[in-house]
Assembly symmetry: D2
Homo-oligomer: 361 residues x 4
């Protein structure tokens, strides 16, 4: 099944375009087959400047995604309107700006945490809970908006739920324990001071453990009569920052219904394929999970950039699936925190929405 | 109670003196109040050289512990005899050399893994299981040796058991889950190639998880009728190497009998004091566990060197004691892998043996 | 001018295919338009194994360049013959194996240092001294070989000479001072132990400074009557290892004839284009030098991978061109040590040889 | 010659006590034989808080230097007066606050750059230019202050001038080229973002090269008729930030009058002893320069903390003294940027002032 190609590329606005996640959006969208960046929006301080002036480009590849000369606008639906809006805003500004866009008719795909846990807002990972997108109808009615807000989860939750989803479907997830080793890019720029992280581990990331514990339950939940019933799975997270640039590593132990053997679990992970794969969405990885055989893999430096084109960095990686004397099965999990866990997540959500006919132009 | 001071410092031999753990022994013993280094022993390749030639000093402080001119001997009880022997040997050579010394009458304090799990060999951490030292009598009789071998656990196990011991005594440990973030110094020199660890996490350390799981049970076990009955606690470990120079961080979740509140657990950790503290052994930390209040602590770079003189690096650190939805209580744990977890561990064991009158001169 | 396309891709052998530079060769050649890997050769230890078994793949991208099932052969012209041979051998084995191949008729493109300074062996960087390739004729006659050896310089020398060449042509280089900050990947695998480099600088790389000083003079020299007359430029190098994965940064100060202004120097660097660009060789960067305007650039992490397809990592980067109170002009220089400075260098040399009709099939 | 011991420890105020250099001052002064901290002062935001609340302690050793309960005052001579003031202020606030203290009669030992190049302010390194302290008389008269300001140089300049001083005295320094590899702690906290420095080199530190070039000339200059005549030596600096926690490494090439052999240069460095050594000032290293024989030394991680008690981190390290084809002699230089180059520098200056009878109580 090939996805419907839009006649012409759909104009989009990127909110918070000057930050590091914003830059990831810009780079992803520079060559996107369906979307083209029409407006870059940022804080008042940057508005009116050329994008090339307004932000120091911190990624590899073509500087400023080729948009150095585009004028940065204010984060305001009248100044920078578009049917699709990607939000790389911090949670504070997102609380005001995202509803303004939704009210004005935009479909806002947000990486911010502001609305993730709202009862009428989808917390969407297309491989995991594509049907939660229908919550948009509830949201529109409840809030009387012509547009809507669709969120993607926190980077750590995204990576985790990608591995839990096939296990939840195949067996049922009862309990999850996860200890994370998170890249510094997850904290944005300037983010983590180098003095805190060179040759060091920081055993606390504010609010992160709570997000992982609650977001996971929401995403694994079911949409029933216009609301999400969270999954009953117990989740316990311990989050750590480590001196790694990109890629969150997660040590995961799970208790599954029926206590399947590690081989069965590995097979369920390896063979998983879901909606984005079936719909051949542009940013969908060929396989959502790559299962590694070597005991020393996956490793962030070697594996996290895996994938071609728009799907680069969009698969998650699993290795060392083995018996856990505590919960039943344990494994190493790895995913790209600023691609699969941020910019790429929002873009994939927008692709799903478009493929499902939910973008009105 | 002040420990008995030896009339004159007891001569000791360091086996494997040229490696990084060997160097830690040499540095620790340079100013030790009870022991003085009489012989440095290493492989045939180094024997006959001056210590200063035989090894590139890789630590701070006085190069070669002031013993640069001492001749390196072969690892042989006739070439380098002593009543007390510290072994920094690799497991392979340890299998032959340590018994040779024990047979010749030395008390061998070994950091090697070769004999740790032998039924008649103490796996000793003085704060945890000082009474296991009595296994030496069983060993001597069984093997017909005039000396004996006393081992200290793997670095990761040592740090873990230091936090479990007071909880086991106060409540009873039923289940333990630990995910580690281990320093590269734990792998010796040359050890971990820089290409494997710069901006990376390696999710596998050969044999480490098994050691943590079995050694912990042995150490928390009880000595009954000349043998150790391992503790019934279930232990599950996931071990990772991270770009940290010194200090193993461990994310620990425990199930304790009676499910005590985090505050009770914190109090049991904070107030713990044990045999080495009571006996005022020279390398004993004033408090075996330092409890941190700031949520971002402990951190290896800031905390692992804590302590004065011989006790430097000998305490372990606990932070963020809080409820775990999985097992009951979780916390961050940190200890110095090459001091508390290696050289300092053996030296403290020897101090205990001396204080208990088990060193015959 | 488009280069002549070979009718079918030319078979090549990679010597030392299991090491890290060997892997870079394999990855580069996997999709090369002119060459295809026919044989992978390595030490006796690996011969007979599948490539996938014989080496742990340490790069990103498709594991083993898609050649995991190819049998590894011995480094022997009868076992693994080819018209073009790429050598990633260490200098010791190269001394015997490379002449054996040249004698057997292969054109050997070598990254090893064994023959770089031999009077009849080209030390070739196509942008810098393409005409030195003619030394092959002298070599063949002198050694009575039907093949020949063509070397590329040490990684640090390569990056340096790329910046010096346009200045030498435009003005004449009289004196060069260079202090390097070199990536650990330059030392191969296992290479630099992590304990030596985490949060550290090592101020010595064995033999490196001498290579930079002599190789640079040979490459900037002129081919006259069958021999290279080295350039008279004085070169002084101070080489350091720093905790960087890929990319050598070099702090360069130069004295140029006529003492041109920094602006003239910058212009000469910025506008430089040379033989590989004119011949549109597949691995040639569009511009050999990228001149950066921001004072904090170039930086290895952000800039070193620049470029598309076969030209990725093949440009060098210059920033902060400014007056030097010592020698006249100083600037920051950056290049990819294992691409431009190793595997890519040899491949570009082979492309030049083919384009000049020097490959006999 | 033993220095005069003050009857009782002299009360001092630390300005900017909550920052990282401020914390270094506090730690250094906690056990100082001559000085005791009477007041800790910081910005209005912190004033009134306990020191333990006002700042997160970022160093090892006893948290907050044992002064966690001391109330932080405003940076104001009436709120926090003392005969000796140590200033860890940023340059901006220093411009107002330091003169206010000097006017009120304090002797201000400042690590800030605000007054370093003022004609009547000593830029003092006791080993290098102890006599420049006399400039204080000129300053007092010119400014009509009862106190005075004494500055120490930038961290990079300090380390450099420590090696140049004995060469200037023995031979005369004509030209100096220095390429630096600087630790991130030099940028304070939060300072360098981790995303800028993990596996990276940043080739620009704002204003640093100019400081090194001008401060060095002033310090090597001579005090004649109430003013400093700068040394005629030409200095060229290229400054880089590298992923190192503590310790600035400098690659130095020098042209000396008479072009002495490297052996003579090494001997002049090795045997150097100066005023602080003769006066046995508490923070003076036994030898100001440690000359290393191993080619791979000095290294920041292994060498920078060298020294005992107050002299820890106060020596600089030199290695690989050898001929330079460019300027004559080159060598590797290393020093502790936040001890010798910041807090320790100011404290040593105050010790000199006290020993010379310039502190009026």
């Amino acid at each position: 099944m090939t996805p419907p190609q839009p006649r012409q590329r759909i104009p989009v606005t990127v909110l918070g375009a000057t930050g590091v996640v914003g830059q990831r959006f810009v780079r992803r969208l520079a060559n996107h087959p369906w979307f083209r960046v029409d407006h870059l929006a940022a804080s008042e301080r940057s508005a009116g400047q050329r994008y090339g002036e307004a932000c120091a480009w911190r990624l590899g590849g073509e500087p400023h995604g080729g948009l150095a000369d585009l004028e940065v606008r204010a984060c305001d639906p009248s100044a920078a309107p578009a049917p699709i809006v990607f939000s790389a805003l911090d949670s504070g500004p997102a609380k005001e700006i995202e509803p303004a866009y939704a009210r004005a008719g935009s479909l806002v795909f947000s990486n911010a945490s502001a609305f993730r846990m709202a009862v009428d807002v989808p917390l969407l990972v297309p491989e995991v809970n594509a049907d939660h997108l229908d919550l948009v109808d509830v949201q529109r009615e409840a809030r009387d908006w012509s547009g809507a807000i669709v969120t993607n989860p926190n980077c750590t939750s995204t990576v985790l739920v990608m591995a839990l989803a096939p296990l939840h479907r195949a067996f049922g997830v009862e309990k999850v324990f996860v200890a994370t080793m998170q890249a510094t890019s997850g904290a944005g720029y300037p983010g983590v001071p180098s003095l805190d992280i060179l040759s060091n581990v920081v055993p606390h990331i504010s609010g992160e453990e709570e997000k992982v514990e609650t977001e996971t339950q929401k995403m694994l939940g079911t949409l029933q009569m216009g609301r999400i019933v969270p999954a009953a799975a117990t989740v316990s997270a311990m989050c750590h920052r480590v001196p790694v640039i990109d890629g969150h590593t997660e040590a995961v132990s799970v208790q599954l219904r029926g206590n399947p053997a590690p081989e069965e679990v590995a097979e369920a992970l390896r063979t998983w394929s879901s909606v984005p794969q079936e719909m051949q969405l542009p940013s969908a990885p060929t396989r959502p999970i790559l299962l590694h055989g070597e005991p020393s893999r996956p490793q962030p430096r070697l594996d996290v950039e895996y994938g071609e084109g728009a799907a680069q960095g969009m698969a998650v990686h699993v290795g060392r699936v083995r018996r856990c004397p505590m919960l039943g099965v344990k494994f190493t999990l790895l995913g790209h925190n600023t691609e699969r866990g941020a910019a790429g997540a929002s873009v994939l959500n927008a692709e799903l929405a478009h493929a499902r006919g939910r973008i009105s132009l």
